[in-house]
Amino acid sequence: MITTATPEWLLQPEVALCPCGCIGRRRKANFVDKTLQNAGGLLLRTMFAEDAATRDGLLQRCDARAKLAGGAVLLLAAALVHDVRVLVVLYLLTLAVAVASKLGAKFFVQRVWLFVPLFTGIVVLPATLNVITPGRIVVPLGTWFGYHLGVTSQGASSAAVIVVRVATSISLVVLLTLTTRFADLLTGLRALRVPRLFVLVFSMAYRYVFVLLATVDDMYTARKARAVLDTRNTKRGRQFVAASAGALFGRAHALSDEVHHAMLARGFRGEARSLRVARVSANDVVVVLVAVVVSIVALGGDRVLR
């Protein structure tokens, strides 16, 4: 039998709160809150956006296996080339392919150059100085404890090689991921003899990022819906983050148990099996050949120019 004893206070309005909100003081949203919200939103938008992969562009018409193989060859070539001019040509080529694949030059350049400073900035900047790379100073930076500090031409050219190489490599990867649906990418990995179990784990990790992301979003929204006090209180914020992380870990663990049961229930015994992959077409071979020829020309050009 269910009995309900409603406490008296629950039957009264909260007199301390003015319904029109006139006694309130406006506060700007917490920086961490906004960052969390935007980061979550960005991740969702990025991962949901498979529209680029479905456009009728040059690379979208190619098979994922050919793109994977061709991309790997070109990545290797970019890693072996040492002449900045050759690297610049390779980079411009990726830009041209991006445009031909209807990705939009501005969008593509932004996507690539967002990561370049992140990956290379910390490494490259000190290497341009005469402290690390001795040579002819082209940009003097003054005197530091009696030592002349400046950017050397040798340091700058080494840095340029690294920066353009990273930009080219990232461009190749971005080209591949933007023009290929994730499921096709996995099929391509399987066709290239990547162990099936690895592909299975990779695909499931990708799959459940969405589920856990939705959980984080729910927890955050639930907290926000009840947050009356100043959410900028850092101690409270830290407590929330710690509690959320713990709760999320627990849910992830429970979910992993359920998923494992669901796999066992359909006969999984540790060996991943998958649908057969379609045969390689002549177009796919051409894509790989083009990548190989471009790589050979780039490496040859590098040898001639150095």
Partner: protein
């Protein structure tokens, strides 16, 4: 019921999670071929655990479980031949479709089971196409699970089990979190599957749809014991029993506009007989 007609039999099964949280206490029942059985009880009474035991996903601490007249134990399920036969004969539709739908696309999800059973790729592809068409989700074949609604995910989960053509289908709270239209579709599908000879076992506390999905009810108490087993109508008419197992409460009232139309307030809005 003869031995041949019995597809599943639990004998005095007890189970505790982590060795200290009881989920089942001395549960015994049999399920006959072609039966349509509902496992009924309040939240946390052990319904889902029974389904997991029936599917050989957890094993009793005490008591025993036979399926198709063969003991189902951890050892038995390590046998390749037995596990393949058992998994292809018993299908389990989980309550949480997100846990069940784990592949990158709907097509691969539905193909997962038959591939594990060792079917050839052409056979698997034919079955997948057939079952996607049957459940009217062929247009979703290349979609990723995160692009599906709750109802669509449930259809994919059902398809991923049906494609293996199991004799026994276990459903855990199948209508939970579905909109009325999706619920109606699922109820109709269960009826259709039953009519085609499948044995159906459903864990639920949805009293509204009970008669539409089950002919027999096995009721569990909050003490994790089996307290009743009988025809659905008889169970629904036993208000005292339903109150005792916390499926309805005693706030029965008469609607002002419909004086003769009495209701019990339970988890659904169950109409009383008479």
């Amino acid at each position: 019921m003869s031995c041949v007609d019995t597809v599943m039999e639990l004998r005095s099964v007890s189970y505790q999670y982590l060795g200290r949280f009881p989920a089942l206490d001395g549960v015994s029942f049999t399920v006959g071929r072609g039966e349509r059985v509902a496992l009924l009880g309040a939240n946390g009474c052990g319904k889902s655990t029974v389904l997991k035991v029936l599917d050989g996903l957890v094993f009793p601490d005490r008591g025993s479980y036979d399926a198709f007249a063969v003991p189902v134990t951890e050892d038995a399920l390590e046998d390749d031949q037995f596990v393949t036969a058992f998994r292809s004969r018993v299908g389990f539709v989980f309550q949480n479709s997100d846990a069940q739908v784990f592949s990158p696309t709907v097509r691969e999800e539905v193909a997962f089971g038959p591939l594990q059973m060792g079917l050839d790729s052409p056979d698997v592809e034919r079955r997948v196409d057939d079952v996607l068409a049957m459940l009217e989700i062929a247009h979703l074949a290349d979609r990723a699970p995160h692009q599906l609604s709750g109802g669509q995910k449930k259809r994919v989960a059902v398809a991923s089990v049906l494609v293996m053509n199991p004799e026994v289908l276990l459903f855990d709270e199948p209508t939970a979190a579905l909109d009325p239209r999706a619920q109606q579709w699922l109820v109709a599908l269960i009826a259709e599957l039953h009519a085609s000879g499948k044995t159906i076992i459903i864990a639920t506390h949805d009293l509204d749809r009970l008669e539409a999905i089950a002919d027999r009810c096995i009721v569990f108490s909050e003490d994790h014991e089996l307290v009743a087993d009988g025809p659905t109508r008889a169970i629904l008419d036993d208000v005292a029993l339903l109150q005792r197992v916390n499926l309805v409460h005693d706030h029965a009232h008469v609607h002002a506009q419909e004086p003769a139309h009495r209701h019990l307030h339970g988890r659904g809005h169950h109409q009383l007989a008479g």
